[in-house]
Amino acid sequence: MVPLSAYVAVSAVLFATGLIGVLIRRNFIIVLMAVEIMLNAANINLVAFSYYLESMAGQIVALFVIAIAAGEAAVGLAIIIVVFRGRLSTNVDELNLLKW
C-alpha cells in the first residue's frame, strides 16, 4: 500500500519543479509548460486526497483544473502569437518596455 505522503511528496516535487521553471526559463511557451506542471502537481494532490479521504470532491476539482487549463492554454497561446507578431521573439526578458 502506497502511503498518502508519498503522493504528497511527488506532488510537492513537481510543484517545485514547475515553480522553478517559471522563474528560470526565458521562453514564455516553456514558462506556460512549467505552469502546466504546477497544475498537474495540484491534480495529483487532489486525486490522492480524494482517494484517501473517500470523497469525490477532489477528483471533481481536478477535472475543473484541467478544463480551466485548457481554456487558459488557448488564450495564452493566442496572446503569445500576438506578441510574437510584434517582436518576433518569445523571450520573456525582452518584454520590458513597461517598467518602473
Binding site: V22, V31, V92, L95, N96, K99, W100
Partner: protein, 666 residues
C-alpha cells in the same frame, strides 16, 4: 428660527459657491460678485442675530443639521455649537470676510477668472464657518481641510507665476503634515471617549490620565502649528503672499491662520490637564513671536513684512494660550483680525495704486498722492504697534501683563522685545512707503491714483474697528469681553485669577506704551530723520543684515536639503556628500557669517534637517524602490514567491511562538 439662522450662516455662502461654480460662466461678473459678497453679508446678519440671542439668553446651544456618519459605534452629526466663543469667531469671520469681499470687487476688477475667485473665496467662508461653528472634531476637521484647500487654490490663483505654484504646493503639504497630527489627536480622542462631540469630550475629560491628555494636546498642537504657521512649520505663510492681496488679507492674516488658536482655546480643557503641552505652546508662541519679528525687520516686500508680522502676532496668541490667558488670546485674535485686514488691504491699495509694485525700496513719498490709503495704513500701524488706546494696545498689553503677573518673566521679556521690534518694523514700513523722497519708477509715478470707493469704504470700517476694537476688553482681565467669554474659556475647576493690583497693571501699561513708542522713535530716527543711518547700520553688520534679509536661510536650507537633491537623481553617496560634507562646510561658513543669529540657525538646521531628511528619504525610496518594478516577468514571479515564503514563515514562526494555538503535525 434660531436653528434656521445658524444653519443659514454656512449655507448661504455655500449656495453662492454652487451657483458661481456651476453656472458662473453663464452670467456676468456683476452677478457673480453680488452673489459672492451678498451671501457673506447675509451670513453676517444671521451671525449678528445669533450673537444677540446668545447675549440675551446666555445659553450654549447645539444645532444638529443632520446625522452625518453613523455606523458601528461611530456617531457623528453635522452639528453646530453656538456658544460665546463661536459667536465671536462667527462675527469676526463673516464681518471681516464681508468687508474683504466688498474690497475684492474693486481690487479684482478686470482680472481673469473673476468668478472663480469669488467661488473660492466663498468656499473659503464656508470652510472657515464650519471650522468655527462645528460641535465636534470632525466638522472642525472638514473646515480645517477646506480652508487648506481653498488656500491652495487661491495662492495658486495667478497660475502664470512659477513662484505661486511652488508656494501653493508648499502651503498645502506643510498644512497636511499638521493635519496628520490633528487627525491622530482626533483618533486618540475617539479611542478615549468613544465620541467626538466637544460637550461630551470635555465633560469626561477629567477621567483622562495626564499622559494621555499630554499626548492628545501635543498632537493637536502639531495641527495648530501647521495651520497657524508657528515654528517650525511657518515657512509656508510668507510664501503664501503670492496670492491676490484680498486672499492674503482674508486667509493669511485675518481668519484661516487663527484656526490653530481657536482650536487650542476650544480644547483648553484638555490643555489645562497637560501642563507640559501648555508650556510647549507658550514657548512655541514666544519663540515664533520673537523670531518672525526679527525677520520682519529687513524685508523689502510690503506684503512679506506684513506676513512676518502675522506670524509674529500669531506667536503672541499662542503665548497667551500657553500661559492660560485664553480670553486674551481670542481678544488678540479679534483685534488682530481688524488691524491686519486693514493693513493688508491698505497694502493692496498701495499695490493697486502702483500697478503691482510691491518692493518698498521703490516706493516712498506716497502720502500726498494717496492720502486716504496713507491715513488708513497709519491707523493700522498704530494699532499693531500697540499705541494707546488703539485695539492692538489693549490685547497685546493684556497678554504681556498676564505673562508678567504669572511669573513668566522670560516669556514676558520675549514678548516685550517682540513688541519693540513690531513697532520698529511697522513704522519702518510706513516711513519707507509713505514718507521721504519718492523712489518711484516714473512710469509708475504717472499712474498713481487713489483706489475707488468700493475699496476705501471697507477700509474705513476696518480702521474704525481697529481704533475702537479694544474697548470691549477694557479694563484688562475683567472687561465685557471677558465676562462674555468667561463660561467657555475658564475650566470648571479654577478660574482666571485677578490677582494683579491696579498699580502693577498700570505700570505694565505704561511700560508697554513706552516700548511701542521707543520702537516708533527708532524707526523715525532711522528712516525719517537720518535716512542714511539705516544703510550704515546694515553695512556695519552685513552678516546679520543678510541673514535676516534671507530669513535665516531657512528656505535655502529647505531647498538645499529637500528640493535640490530631489531634482537630481542622486545616489546615496552623492546625498551624503552634499548634506554632510557640504553641509558642514557651508554650515560653518554661514555660522561665522551670521554671528548673532547663529544659535537660532542651528535650531532651524536641526529641525529642518530632520523634516527634510524624511522628505528626501521618501524621494530616495521612490527612486530605489521603483527599481523593484524591473519590467521582467520572472522578477515579478520571484517577488511573489519570496513574499509568500516570508509570509509562510512569519505566520508559522509566530504561531509556534504563541501560546494557545499550536500547529498540529504528525
Amino acid at each position: 428660527m434660531f436653528e434656521l439662522l445658524v444653519i443659514l450662516i454656512p449655507v448661504l455662502p455655500l449656495a453662492a459657491v454652487l451657483l458661481n461654480g456651476l453656472l458662473g460662466s453663464r452670467y456676468s461678473h456683476d452677478i457673480a460678485h453680488r452673489l459672492g459678497w451678498g451671501s457673506v453679508g447675509l451670513s453676517f446678519l444671521c451671525a449678528v442675530g445669533i450673537f444677540v440671542e446668545t447675549l440675551r439668553t446666555g445659553v450654549a446651544r447645539e444645532v444638529v443639521a443632520y446625522r452625518w456618519i453613523f455606523g458601528g459605534d461611530l456617531t457623528v452629526n453635522l452639528a453646530f455649537l453656538v456658544d460665546p466663543l463661536t459667536c465671536i469667531m462667527m462675527l469676526v469671520v463673516t464681518g471681516v470676510g464681508f468687508l474683504i469681499h466688498l474690497y475684492s470687487v474693486g481690487y479684482m476688477h478686470g482680472e481673469e477668472g473673476f468668478t472663480r475667485f469669488f467661488t473660492y473665496m466663498n468656499l473659503f467662508m464656508v470652510s472657515m464657518l464650519l471650522l468655527v461653528m462645528g460641535s465636534n472634531y470632525l466638522v472642525l476637521f472638514i473646515g480645517w481641510e477646506g480652508v487648506g484647500l481653498c488656500s491652495y487654490l487661491l495662492i495658486g490663483y495667478y497660475y502664470d507665476r512659477v513662484s505661486a505654484a511652488k508656494a501653493a504646493t508648499k502651503a498645502f503639504v506643510v498644512n497636511r503634515i499638521g493635519d496628520a497630527g490633528f487627525l491622530l489627536a482626533i483618533f486618540l480622542i475617539f479611542v478615549n471617549f468613544k465620541t467626538l462631540d466637544y460637550t461630551q469630550v470635555f465633560a469626561q475629560a477629567s477621567q483622562l490620565s495626564t499622559g494621555m491628555a499630554t499626548a492628545i494636546a501635543l498632537c493637536l498642537l502639531i495641527g495648530a502649528v501647521g495651520k497657524s504657521a508657528q515654528i517650525p512649520l511657518y515657512t509656508w505663510l510668507p510664501d503664501a503672499m503670492e496670492g491676490p492681496t484680498p486672499v492674503s488679507a482674508l486667509i493669511h492674516a485675518a481668519t484661516m491662520v487663527t484656526a490653530g488658536v481657536y482650536m487650542i482655546v476650544r480644547n483648553h480643557v484638555l490643555y489645562d490637564m497637560a501642563p507640559v503641552a501648555l508650556t510647549t505652546v507658550a514657548w512655541v508662541g514666544g519663540l515664533t513671536a520673537l523670531f518672525a519679528a526679527t525677520i520682519g525687520l529687513v524685508q523689502t516686500d510690503i506684503k512679506r513684512v506684513l506676513a512676518y508680522s502675522t506670524v509674529s502676532q500669531l506667536g503672541y496668541m499662542f503665548l497667551a494660550c500657553g500661559i492660560g490667558a485664553y480670553t486674551a488670546a481670542i481678544f488678540h485674535l479679534m483685534t488682530h483680525a481688524f488691524f491686519k485686514a486693514l493693513l493688508f488691504l491698505s497694502a493692496g491699495s498701495v499695490i493697486h495704486a502702483l500697478s503691482g509694485e510691491q518692493d518698498i525700496r521703490n516706493m516712498g513719498g506716497l502720502r500726498s498722492k494717496i492720502p486716504w490709503t496713507h491715513a488708513l495704513f497709519l491707523v493700522g500701524t498704530l494699532a499693531i504697534a500697540g499705541i494707546f488706546p488703539l485695539a492692538g494696545f489693549w490685547s497685546k498689553d493684556e497678554i504681556m501683563a498676564h505673562a508678567f503677573t504669572h511669573g513668566q518673566y522670560v516669556l514676558y521679556a520675549m514678548a516685550a522685545i517682540g513688541a519693540f521690534l513690531t513697532a520698529f518694523y511697522m513704522f519702518r514700513l510706513t516711513y519707507l512707503t509713505f514718507y521721504g523722497r519718492s523712489r518711484l519708477d516714473h512710469h509708475v509715478a504717472e499712474h498713481v491714483h487713489e483706489s475707488p470707493a468700493v475699496m476705501i469704504g471697507p477700509l474705513v470700517v476696518l480702521a474704525v474697528l481697529s481704533v475702537i476694537g479694544g474697548f470691549p476688553g477694557v479694563p484688562p482681565e475683567s472687561g465685557w469681553f471677558h465676562h462674555f467669554l468667561h463660561p467657555v474659556t475658564v475650566a470648571a475647576g479654577g478660574g482666571e485669577e485677578h490677582g494683579a493690583g491696579f498699580g502693577l497693571v498700570a505700570t505694565l501699561m505704561v511700560v508697554a506704551t513706552a516700548i511701542a513708542l521707543l520702537g516708533w522713535g527708532l524707526a523715525h530716527y532711522l528712516y525719517s530723520v537720518r535716512t542714511e543711518a539705516a544703510d550704515n547700520l546694515a553695512a556695519r553688520a552685513p552678516g546679520a543684515y543678510r541673514t535676516l534679509l534671507n530669513k535665516y536661510y531657512v528656505d535655502e536650507l529647505y531647498d538645499f536639503l529637500f528640493v535640490e537633491p530631489a531634482k537630481r537623481l542622486g545616489v546615496v553617496w552623492d546625498w551624503f556628500d552634499r548634506t554632510v560634507i557640504d553641509g558642514i562646510v557651508l554650515g560653518v561658513g554661514r555660522l561665522t557669517q551670521s554671528g548673532s543669529a547663529g544659535s537660532t540657525w542651528i535650531e532651524k538646521h536641526a529641525i529642518y534637517g530632520l523634516i527634510n531628511v524624511v522628505g528626501y528619504a521618501n524621494h530616495l525610496a521612490a527612486r530605489s524602490w521603483r527599481r523593484l518594478q524591473s519590467g521582467k516577468v520572472h522578477h515579478y514571479a520571484a517577488i511573489i514567491v519570496a513574499g509568500l515564503f516570508i509570509l509562510v514563515h512569519l505566520i508559522l514562526v509566530w504561531w509556534s511562538g504563541s501560546s494557545g494555538i499550536g500547529v498540529a503535525s504528525r
